[in-house]
Symmetry: D2
Subunit: 349 residues, 4 copies
């Protein structure tokens, strides 16, 4: 049987292709019928530029790694999932054997297999396909009837839960979030769960600031009109205990470094353009700041699913559009329209 | 009575000036006769450029903050120092009342008084003077007859002990040190005390690499001839558990970021040129590195004195020249001659 | 002018005494008119036993350290409080100069002055008095009209916020709380603020378990009837990421050690009887548990006031009785009636 | 072919038995010819009492887990060990799949297979046998000709390196070690590597104190004659930054709790008698101490081998006797004679 998948061939050249998923399941595998999948920032880069940073599309690459679906068939050794059950798909498949995995840092696995990535050639194919065959450990079972469009937020939420963990305990602290796209907004929600006292969020688009406010930012600041608008927070060597840079903009990172208190932490969450970014190292030195990277997630995928299933977080307002794969070009256009859209999902029907 | 001091008026305009130190001691003060004092990197910047980064010399500034001397007189409330006793002078006088002091971070005190600094105007005068009057808590008593030229290393050693602490526990770990001037070499010694397994040190000057090797570097690499010489350490996402950038050179910092393992820490110890430094943020993000600043020291001054007095560290090989203040210009010239000199000290006689 | 205070002379011998508070204020002092004050566990021990552990009442001791009142007069240097303004009183007055204070651990100050304590002789008098004169830094200003009966919870809440901090980050974790008196219930609330995923609370009194449930415990277990009731949580080397022992009962501490996962933390919050408590050290060793003490609070007093003023926490349901000092014996009787009462406060009118 | 092994049948009933090791090697296995093996505290308990705590010998149990030997044969997939090469055997075989393994805590593996243990039935057989067949990952290759009697110290040294890690960074700190048997002495050596400033060691046997002193204790105290001898260290709420209890004696643990500073850590390394130990919980609470367990080791086995091979540690003075298995009863008698002996090893020839 041939099935369809949505692959990028080069910048803006997105096509539906036929794939073959007819091999019998291995004992520990699960066959999942695609339900819905979110378009992520890296998908957008592949679509618009044919690359993400140094990773260039060299052969057709099936995109997609924010996927939820329904179990269609389980391998002989899988006894805790049943056909018909909804599942969220964890796009990470770490080796569990390398130095980083054994140190409890599977997100930094030296032999990670990650959906939809041109980091290696042949590329690792992603999840925008009618059916996915994955090892049992990439599936997190959901309650019967659970809304797949919510479940597909588990992946980006896991990214943000991990980013928040990178800053150490933040309960009762004041935090700056720069950039209020899906990642910024989910970071705000993750910070709320972590018990922060006060969140200031900045962006240049009024629409996303309104969403940020609705999701838990105590204060939102439109920085598009006044370059001095954060001066009060930068006075006296800074105001915030920690900052999360979610925009991928160098100026925003400067704001974070300026407005964070001595010994505070700045976590770079958003993807910066490739190459070097000019940073005021003297600030980092004289304030003893920590600038920390964050990369994907570890145990946070399971936690993300739990927060969604338990209802502790409601991410539904972040879903601003659902398109069929027939309309994929329109979907990718919508995904970069920050005034109109937040998270876009793609479905087969 | 008038006494002499060595002040910078503007770039390369260094003069001996007369100062007045005749006021009676307050109960908690100590009058110290100058013994010897080291020339530090910031003194060098003031001398050669008339500024350190954003701090410009706007009035005559007495330099010097690596000072050891002999107690001449003690205030009425000082009962644990005696005239004639050698002392090391801690150039930090934190307020002990601000938020940072009370959180155990006196080095980040909001109202720090630090010797020899143009950070505020009027400038805070430094220690190159025949006599110093300081609060008791800036003196650390030394055993009778202790070599003042060794004691004057307490301050830069404290800087390096603090820098090492900023990276967390390093026992049994492998570490890179870029830059082997006095700060690099003292960092190597501080790392040895912290039980690191292996130190790789780099520089462009063969002389300082030899000193680094003698002081504890397991491997020294002259990076002046071959830009690919660290490639093997940068392969596979990096080799070192932590790196200490002690040269103030952006390329060295790039080497640190490239050659440090995922989740490792890079501590910027050396002073970078003012303004922005281009950094590969993608490396920091995808390897989840920590880039940490380090600024002066806290309890490490007392620890530095203890390591010197106990003989746990022998820094004597770092003292490469002693000049009288009459020869101060020659001393400042020597201090930047990295092929010939390491630490230069200045004395009145 | 003479004023009244409530002092303990020996076990169950509580009397109103006359005190003199007529001295002029020092510049940094504040005179506060008593509003209301909670009866704490140590007050109860002083009342019923004439001692708290090793601290024996040797002279009349004014009790009380959970106090809120109204500013009556301010010293000449106090410019940020005004007469008539409500304040919460921090009963801690650390020296800010000892090794522990300077390391950011003022709660462990070597020269702490703490309200209402027989730890030293002469005893340090407490806050159950018509007027209190305290340094400015012991007052936290409240908004006009703020309910003093809520403000008087700042002290016990600060104890619990500090206890929670002692366990490190707990966001998304599962926690056991043994003992649901005021300290247990406030710990539950502090844990909720810290973002824990699930709280299991145990006690032997149905009434306090109902309060615990209302305040945020996800599951409450009455352990009075069945000694095996926690077996499921103790299986497989334990279930909880951390436990907080708030009952002062050795068996409850055993439950904590048994039911906490390997590498988890058990914080002893409640006061154990003096002398030795038998503990299964083998459990601590083979599971690599951390057993941590917690003692009063540091910056958490200000945070506690903030959580109450901002409304992030609602502690009003914990106030189960208000007595006048004329009825103090009845108040102390009520304070130990765990079936009927939670927190009791005392007022002059 | 039948081979010999040394098994305990019940208390003091130790016998040589015949075992069968003729199965062909799996691809990832290694066959090792026994060289030498140390007698550990748990071996001693099995020998003298027929049990270790709750673990009772229910069937013949081959003892031994401090083993070094020589590769005799390698499986088809093993390409980095060669016949004739000396190896140290890591007695831990964690599952690498459970929650604890994946969190970087393999020593707490839920399905650990550990040499020579009656923790489960059938018992896990140990290493006192002519040949051992183990997975590749349990072997650490040694340089040609490396002294196996030194290599057999890797296991107890790893235990002590891990115990030291449990206390967090200790560079420049003062530490108490109670009990100077092999574990106490190796802890002292591990502390020296970690850069501690000063070690005070206590014991009741003059001989072991002399060894402790030779291996790096700065001060040794014979506590057998004067119960007040540590009073000076217990004054003012304690002197040491951390303590390591290596004797398994409750009074020594009390000394640790008394003599450790507020916020210090006490690590219980030695094995306490089964059941409850009376502890002064009030001390733990009011000083905010951390009492931490430590259990075996994780990455520290490789580090231990490295410290021995590199010569950073010289443990040779701890080997006080070598016996053949024919003299095993005499060896076990010697192993408990603390005045005469430290570590005893057993060999076949």
């Amino acid at each position: 049987m041939t099935l369809q998948a949505c692959a990028i061939f080069s910048a803006k050249d997105l096509r539906m292709i036929d794939i073959d998923e007819t091999a019998a399941l291995a004992p520990d595998q699960v066959r999942v019928t695609y339900g819905t999948g979110g378009i992520c920032g890296s998908d957008i880069h592949y679509y618009h530029e044919g690359r993400v940073g140094a990773f260039e599309v060299k052969e057709p690459l099936i995109l997609g790694h924010e996927i939820a679906g329904t179990v269609r068939e389980v391998g002989s050794a899988v006894d805790d999932l049943t056909p018909g059950q909804p599942v969220a798909i964890n796009p990470n498949l770490p080796c569990l054997a390398c130095e980083n995995c054994l140190a409890g840092r599977t997100n930094l696995c030296k032999d990670m297999v990650f959906f939809g990535s041109a980091a290696v050639t042949p590329h690792i194919q992603g999840g925008f396909r009618e059916e996915l065959v994955v090892p049992r450990r990439q599936c997190v079972g959901l309650p019967d009837g659970f809304d797949l469009s919510i479940a597909a937020f588990a992946e980006p939420l896991a990214v943000c839960l991990h980013a928040v963990n990178r800053a150490g305990p933040l309960t009762h602290r004041s935090v700056l979030v720069t950039g209020c796209g899906p990642i910024g907004c989910l970071t705000i929600q993750a910070l709320r769960l972590a018990g922060v006292r006060h969140i200031t969020a900045t962006d240049v688009a009024a629409g996303v600031l309104a969403t940020a406010s609705a999701l838990g930012a105590d204060e939102t600041i439109d920085i598009s009109h006044d370059s001095r608008i954060l001066d009060a927070y930068e006075a006296g060597r800074g105001h915030f205990d920690a900052s999360f840079e979610c925009s991928g903009n160098a100026l925003a990172l400067h704001s974070c470094l300026n407005a964070t208190k001595p010994r505070g932490t700045v976590v770079q969450v958003g993807m910066m353009p490739p190459g070097n970014t000019g940073l005021p190292l003297g600030k980092i030195v004289s304030k003893e700041l920590h600038l920390a990277g964050t990369f994907r997630f570890h145990e946070e995928f399971d936690i993300a699913v739990d927060t969604l299933v338990s209802g502790r977080l409601d991410v539904s307002s972040l879903l601003s559009g659902v398109f069929s794969f027939d309309e994929a070009d329109a979907a990718f256009a919508a995904a970069v329209d920050r005034q109109q859209h937040m998270k876009i999902q793609l479905r087969f029907t």
